[in-house]
């Protein structure tokens, strides 16, 4: 699953640390999610989408391998 967190973060001009503070998670977690290493829980994914005021499916996009 890929995501557009980095793009949304750039639009809002906030750092990973600032986003992490807002969402009460560690900076490394945001970094791992951004890089696509770590797939966040539904709750965290919805929190991120709500923070950026975008639709969930516009922020997180399923890839072909996710269906395997």
């Amino acid at each position: 699953m890929k995501n557009l967190i980095k793009v949304e973060r750039a639009k809002k001009d906030i750092t990973q640390a600032e986003l992490a503070d807002e969402l009460k998670v560690s900076r490394q977690t945001i970094n791992s999610v951004e890089l696509g290493k770590f797939v966040p829980s539904t709750i965290l994914a919805l929190k991120i989408a709500a923070y950026f005021k975008v639709k969930f499916e516009d922020l997180f996009i399923l890839e072909d391998e996710d269906w395997e």
């Binding site: 009460k24 998670v25 490394q28 977690t29 829980s41 965290l44």
Partner: protein
Amino acid sequence: MKLKFLNLSSFGNYNTKKLGLFFSFAFLIVELAIAVEGVVNESIVTLTNLFFLMSLFWAVFSKEKIDDERFQAIRYFTFKTITQLFVFAVVFDLIKNYRIAPIYFAIGTLSGYLVIYYFCVIVNPEFIYKEKTRVNPINNVTLIVTAIVLIVALINLLASIIAM
């Protein structure tokens, strides 16, 4: 269903972890000093082992400052891995008949946990978060451990046959 996170309510707070790590390091130095100098007094060795174990227990069974889902996923992976290694160590001890004292198994397990846990926290390898249990019913670690146990058992069996 995947069990990816591990968040036990019995975990201590972050201060307990810091204390545990500090004392673990201190008692590790004492253990090394005893190993270098040789056993002076048996009761000192026993006490050091007990305090070392207690410190490790604090460090292992405590939460992070921000105990989010990534740390929980790493914790779950580490517990899973160290359990597999513990079983392997017990079997290896049984086969080789080393008769290692249980307290050293406990110290080794908790120390190993800390090493694997902090390695994963720092390096953050991707495979921790990707569990494909349906694709691979028997994972690589299980196969490797089984193969090693079988090889050791076979060597042991052959050695005992030759000795007869």
